[in-house]
């Protein structure tokens, strides 16, 4: 095997090299760093609020450290060549989320409206469940290509998951958006899981159909126009996301699925025309639905004019619409944070009231860490997406490429949709910031997403395997002169 192994100075770390560094030690070092930062933040919150180091420092720190350690050992065992950055980056975000949730738990005003209080402990429990699912993914999914077998089963599963919130008695309407289901005392957001399952379907489907979609087209004004019948799949996905928008009245979920499909379609076919079509169709769909759906109209109004909404929320109105001052409060939070922020525990996130620790958690970061901290957090999200794209580049099979691109695309889109909504760039949606925000479904599903990405990156960076004995080796074997 090592007959042509180069001397150390000639060693390459090109993807797939035998003896390529597995980089697990780099991951461990970064992971320790990623656990220490939230511990620092936790101590900082305690010192700022009560003038003492919080009593739970050791248990929270150990809890996070233990979970990260377990995840690291599992990666070391089952995915030794995986990307070294994905796990530490996700751990850091999760840890910072825990600190911010704990910091909001301390707020008396939020405790009174039952938004805060003991939520950090719950979130730690959800994180543990997320890591458990992460471990399960790495343990049971030995090769991501097995997922290809379940292309159409995934489609059915994703549709069921997406439709669950509409089942009477199971789905609940939480502040206008029907994206939740209640099972016993648990509420689950099935869209978060549908995200992963749907990516598997898109990847499997596009891998088979991409030649027809890419090659059979006419050129018109610099754009490749696909044949009418090839528009089928994009129309179906478009119709589905419009249906989500109409019946579940959730812009975020709808945007996420359609956007993800367009990204994967573009990557599979290399045709810019799909992006143009996608943008046109989503614009038409969004404007069309907004013209008759009152919930969407309210959201758009609140987005265009948050100050008016803020004033209306202070007055008694009789138009039957719940006005919320959240967006304006969030904008003020970002503003009062300034460049360097007020410091941990010294902001006034309690003014955001409802959803301060879930949808609007980014406003707390913006206020207490300022632009500098928020940029770092957005960069960390960007790095996770970048590692996903890098994994896709390195993957040696088309299905893995599409799956990695789809998962990281969905992740990046979700960050954009939530951050854009909280900052007033696009209308607010009911999605949560991956890893940072309070919420079981989100944390658990995103850990599974990271698990799948780590599995693909392990396969992609693993030294090329010795292939199975060729069945017709007898036939083609030729005696070589030595």
């Amino acid at each position: 095997m090592s007959s042509t192994t180069n001397s150390p100075t000639h060693h390459t770390s090109t993807i797939g090299a035998i003896g390529a560094p597995s980089r697990r030690n780099t991951e461990l070092a970064l992971l320790i760093f990623a656990v220490l930062i939230p511990v620092f933040a936790y101590a900082n919150v305690g010192l700022a609020l009560d003038n003492r180091v919080p009593a739970g420092l050791l248990s929270y720190g150990l809890g996070l450290g233990l979970l990260a350690g377990v995840a690291h050992l599992v990666v070391r065992k089952f995915a030794p060549y995986a990307d070294p950055l994905l796990l530490p980056l996700a751990t850091l975000l999760n840890g910072l989320g825990l600190v911010a949730i704990w910091r909001l738990d301390q707020s008396k005003a939020l405790q009174q409206i039952h938004v805060a209080g003991g939520k950090a402990t719950n979130q730690l429990m959800y994180t543990a469940m997320g890591i458990a699912l992460f471990v399960a993914v790495l343990y049971f999914l030995k090769d991501h290509r097995t997922l290809q077998r379940y292309t159409y089963i995934s489609m059915v599963c994703a549709l069921i998951l997406l439709l669950l919130p509409l089942v009477p008695g199971l789905g609940t309407n939480v502040f206008g958006a029907k994206i939740w289901i209640h099972v016993g005392s648990f509420s689950i957001q099935p869209g978060e899981f549908a995200k992963i399952v749907l990516t598997i379907f898109f990847a499997g489907y596009l891998m088979v159909k991409r030649d027809a979609l890419a090659l059979a087209s006419r050129r018109f004004m610099g754009l490749y126009l696909p044949r009418g019948r090839d528009l089928g799949p994009i129309l179906v996905v478009w119709a589905m996301s419009i249906l989500i928008l109409v019946f579940e009245t959730d812009l975020g979920t709808s945007l996420l699925f359609f956007g993800m499909f367009v990204i994967m379609l573009y990557v599979a076919t290399e045709r810019t025309s799909w992006i143009v079509f996608g943008l046109l169709m989503s614009a038409v769909g969004a404007v069309g639905v907004a013209s008759f759906e009152p919930h969407i109209q309210t959201r758009v109004q609140a987005w265009l004019n948050p100050m008016r909404e803020y004033k209306l929320s202070r007055m008694v109105t009789h138009d039957g619409i719940a006005h919320s001052d959240q967006l304006q409060q969030a904008l003020w939070a970002f503003g009062s944070g300034g460049t360097l922020g007020t410091g941990w525990g010294q902001g006034h996130s309690e003014l955001i009231k409802f959803a301060a620790n879930s949808d609007f958690i980014l406003a707390t970061f913006g206020e207490e860490l300022g632009l500098a901290g928020l940029m770092a957090i957005l960069l960390i999200y960007g790095l996770i997406a970048e590692r996903g794209v890098r994994t896709a580049l390195a993957a040696r099979d088309p299905f893995g490429k599409l799956l990695a691109i789809g998962l990281s695309g969905a992740f990046a889109l979700q960050v954009f949709v939530v951050a854009g909504g909280v900052m007033g760039l696009i209308p607010l949606t009911g999605m949560t910031m991956p890893f940072l925000a309070y919420g079981g479904s989100s944390v658990i599903a995103n850990w599974a997403l990271i698990g799948v990405l780590i599995r693909i990156s392990d396969t992609a960076r693993r030294p090329a395997p010795t292939p199975a004995a060729n069945p017709d080796a007898e036939m083609t074997q030729v005696v070589r002169p030595s």
Binding site: S3, T9, T26, L85, R145, M207, R396, D397, P467
Partner: protein
């Protein structure tokens, strides 16, 4: 807690957060440019070896033993041997696989080293392996449409000159230093 301590902690936290981001980017950087030193060190040699490679390509199979002699001796030391296989055309363009003595299989079969998603490729199309002297050989595995080295269809296992295009269906690969 005094104002000063809190300010120091606030700025300290931001510094630590950014330090993490910078360290993470450094890790990515080492991932991206891990081969840089190698290339710089061997570029001059590559320049010298290039005409030779061209001549070899022209002679092709005519003098394989001599070629092997040249490359075999130096190849082991990593002087003249290709270090990676690069896909230059087709859906997998840009993919590289490091050559470290392992056999590389190409085809549509899922356990191939490079899985070709191409209707013109057979499931086990070709393989590339080092012979005893470390010279890289390409062998067509009885494929339907054939494997082409430069412009000639392969009939026997053939040594691969550096930089010579190997065409399989819509995919073109070559060996580089």
């Amino acid at each position: 807690m005094s104002e000063l301590t809190l300010t120091v902690m606030r700025l300290g936290f931001l510094a630590v957060l950014w330090l993490f981001v910078i360290v993470a980017v450094q890790v990515i950087r080492s991932d991206l440019f891990g081969t840089r030193v190698t290339q710089r060190g061997s570029r001059r040699e590559a320049g010298r070896a290039q005409p030779a490679g061209g001549r070899q390509a022209a002679r092709q199979q005519a003098t394989p033993p001599q070629q092997r002699g040249q490359q075999g001796g130096g190849g082991r030391r990593g002087r003249n041997a290709p270090s990676k296989l690069v896909v230059t055309e087709g859906t997998l363009t840009g993919t590289t696989v490091a050559l470290q003595g392992q056999t590389i299989t190409l085809g549509r079969a899922h356990d191939s080293t490079i899985v070709l998603d191409d209707d013109y490729a057979s499931s086990r199309h070709a393989r590339i392996y080092p012979d005893r002297d470390g010279q890289w050989i390409v062998e067509d595995l009885g494929s339907t449409n054939g494997t082409y080295l430069d412009r000639s269809r392969l009939t026997t296992p053939t040594p691969i000159p550096l930089g010579a295009p190997i065409r399989i269906g819509k995919t073109v690969i070559e060996l580089r230093k």
